[in-house]
Symmetry: C2
Subunit: 214 residues, 2 copies
């Protein structure tokens, strides 16, 4: 099976926002509350940040445990990596994820201000000023024959979709309104001409949207 | 996370049968047609027997691609391994699965007539005359810290459930009636006292039932 470009476990509100307004160090999702966006995932047994042995093993857990399945690299936008804009004042900031980031693969951060690569736990962060297509070439070189995940945020995901570089996409619609911020879509109909589409409601209240290239 | 005992991708008819009547070399599911039971899985991109590059990437594909995810060994009943009953006439029979069985792990076949282990592709078959509990001890020893899947058929799956040895269970109800044969259940209500239960209909017509221990 040829390796894929996957958007996966990307969460938006019922009104189509992937993030709120005003990202900052304290508020990575701006005015939106990441806990309400992610509570469906946080309840599952395979949620990467889980510290106790409980959690559910239903539909939502299939989704969270597939997160790393056959993924060899991730590409993310700079705003997913951190709140700073423009040239780096220094290289102290190493991401939101502490000593063991949940990626466990090479991660390519798209930025107009590259900085040296560094490793944190099992994850190595690289910084690229590159087009989506060129970034994919580098990510696949690093992915060892596995898939490449496009990790977010909204602008990065849309850039890869606009360039028609995405093979499969999972968008989870969480039962919350954000009202303003980073808009991902008006609804799944934006993509049904280019992709097959399945919509699967979960008992948790989230609605999973699966897309794959026609 | 402690390794689990998982029943997974076990398919039954709407009237609760896992297999028809009269298993034989030509008819591993007896009078029931395995293609109608398995068509939901066969349509997916990750179906192990797929030979062309197509296939779906929706809900059913999450299920098929999770088949091998963190599984380190399988336990199966003798009737899943082959149609012969009683003492082995010889050891020519090596399973239904050709040169590359889809397990890729140690497989423990429960039988009152043990025979020598053998390997086929990446799968090694062992033969045990053991209780479910003792078989699990050996399977976990071989699983390298990963989970153990209880692979079927009906009698074997029920034996592990009756002994309360199962942690998670996925039963796919296919939209077909079989009428007679190996009955698995009258319905999911048989297990809701011991397990949490989610029922998720798929666009393919199959209904996925997920259970995890209370």
């Amino acid at each position: 099976m040829a390796p894929l470009v996957r958007i996966q476990n990307f969460v938006v509100s019922t009104d189509g926002y992937g993030s709120g307004e005003g990202q900052s160090l304290e508020h990575p999702f701006g005015h939106a509350d990441p806990e309400t966006l992610m509570s469906w995932a946080g309840a599952t047994a395979h949620w990467p940040n889980r510290t106790d042995p409980g959690g559910t093993y239903g539909l939502d857990d299939y989704i969270t445990r597939d997160y790393a399945n056959n993924v060899g690299a991730e590409i993310m936008g700079r705003n997913k990596f951190g709140p700073e804009r423009g040239p780096w004042e220094n290289y102290d900031w190493q991401g939101w994820w502490g000593e063991e980031p949940p990626f466990h693969t090479p991660v390519f951060v798209l930025t107009h201000h590259p900085r040296p690569s560094f490793s944190k736990g099992e994850t190595t962060f690289h910084f690229l000023d590159a087009s989506p297509k060129d970034a994919l070439t580098q990510a696949f070189d690093a992915a060892g024959g596995k898939d490449v995940r496009i990790g977010g945020g909204v602008a990065t995901v849309r850039e890869f979709l606009d360039a028609d570089l995405v093979d499969t996409m999972h968008i989870a619609v969480a039962p919350v309104e954000i009202g303003r911020g980073e808009k991902f879509w008006t609804g799944p109909n934006e993509y049904v001409e280019r992709f097959h589409h399945e919509q699967i409601p979960s008992p948790s209240g989230v609605v999973h949207n699966f897309f794959w290239r026609r």
